[in-house]
Amino acid sequence: MRRDAWWLELLPVIVLLGAFGIYATLRAFEGTYYEWGPYLSPFYSPLIDPRHRWWPFSPALLILIWPLGFRVTCYYYRKAYYRAFFLDPPACAVSEGVKRYRGETAFPFVLQNLHRYFLYVAFVFLIFLWHDAFHAFFFDGRMGVGVGTLVLLFNVILLTVYALSCHSLRHLSGGKLDCFSCVTFAAPRHTAWRWLSILNERHMLYAWISLITVGLTDLYVRLVASGAVRDLRLL
């Protein structure tokens, strides 16, 4: 039996994922305070049917399902929540009690195999988020920089790094090859795989930082849009 405080490593995961889950759910259903000036919350981007012509609920509900799917099926988050929420196992060499176990062979966890499809969608969303970050440099048609501009830019950079460090992307870029030197475009594929592997080593770090920053970015836009704080113009 382990004698160290193994449960301590679960606490940050439970607190951070739990807090983000609650905040994101509340914001998803809120349906207001998602844009101000050139800023658009990443939870609501791309903005779909804001005037409720055909979608009566919050537009974020159409959006958040995709990044949620990407993170839920992410190889890092799987480790984190299997341990913290399913106690499967709670920590290494810690007993989880007798229970039926099928791993990722049966529904619903067999759907984790669709991770790469969520990755493809994530790249589409990143295009919109880069567009939003670019758009955030223009205030009433004139170029400028506000705190929100930097917040949106920082957020999309981190989300991009997180997506680029994905295990599935690493596989698709070249990891699936048995022989790098035997295929067409061998050199660029090996280079891509090598660079993505470097990013992949810190996938956990990027997963956490990007989760926190995307939440804080939405919070910033909400605070500015609701008038709780004023966006500071830097340029």
């Binding site: 039996m1 290494c92 176990y101 791993g103 966890f109 295990h167 022989c179």
Partner: protein, 248 residues
């Protein structure tokens, strides 16, 4: 001289109980030194498996204070001495005697895996970029700590359906070998049970050779399984290619 209290499992397949020993501590000492001291001075019949005492033979695996470790690489100064240090045999394998377990199940699993089969007419020349990945896997010393810590074997006892991380590393080394011609993906899915792995990375955490078992072996293999069995687009592409080849 400082002393450490050791609580060792003494027993066999039928059962056993902890026995307590006091061991003088010297600078630079590792847990295996303490076990050998006990064997030499306090319990002559203590069964301990060891060979190189240099972290390369993979023989002295055990659970020190509940954590799977090589006893020859666990320094005494890394352990708290206020409480007795527990040393138990690996939980996932049947005990033979005291700290020695029967790991022969692993060798039976190993035999199931089709060995390296070079492509006919292969030129025996490889580029470094093609063998980088495989070389990491060759560091494995078969200590079976990864097998022991894996909850699929340790807690759920899926010995019939699951090969365990050590053998996913071996299969990865074969699958990613630039000259190998055999595909083991169906076997990985159906017989070696890679789907039972929920990638909680305990194997990587305990590996004394610091092989990135999960990131570099298991996840790439899982992705190959997705290519083959779960990706509808790739399945369609394969079908079209197959049909085209048949036509030509």
């Amino acid at each position: 001289m400082a002393e450490a209290i050791f609580e060792l499992f003494r027993g066999n397949r039928e059962g056993g109980q902890p026995a307590t020993y006091r061991v003088p501590i010297a600078p630079g000492m590792v847990v295996l030194d303490a076990l050998l001291y006990i064997q030499a001075h306090l319990a002559f019949d203590l069964a301990v498996r060891w060979n190189c005492k240099a972290g390369k033979c993979g023989s002295c695996s055990a659970e020190v204070n509940g954590r799977p470790r090589l006893t020859c690489k666990t320094r005494m100064d890394s352990l708290p001495l206020e409480k007795p240090i527990t040393v138990h045999p690996m939980k996932a394998f049947p005990v033979i005697k005291d700290l020695v377990t029967d790991v022969s199940w692993n060798y039976r699993v190993n035999k199931k895996i089709p060995p390296f089969e070079p492509r006919p007419g292969s030129e025996w020349k490889m580029y470094q970029e093609d063998v980088d990945r495989v070389q990491e896997f060759r560091k494995c010393i078969e200590c079976f700590l990864c097998q022991n810590v894996c909850h699929v074997l340790r807690e759920h006892d899926k010995v019939e359906q699951f090969a365990g991380p050590r053998f996913f590393v071996r299969v990865a080394a074969l699958e990613m070998h630039p000259l190998d011609s055999k595909s083991r993906t169906r076997m990985l899915k159906d017989e070696l049970g890679i789907g039972l792995c929920n990638i909680t990375k305990c194997c990587t955490e305990v590996c004394p050779e610091e092989i990135h078992i999960t990131d570099n072996a298991i996840i790439p293999l899982k992705e190959r399984i997705v290519d083959e069995f779960y990706d509808p687009v790739l399945m369609l592409v394969r079908k079209i290619r197959g049909a085209k080849q048949e036509l030509s």
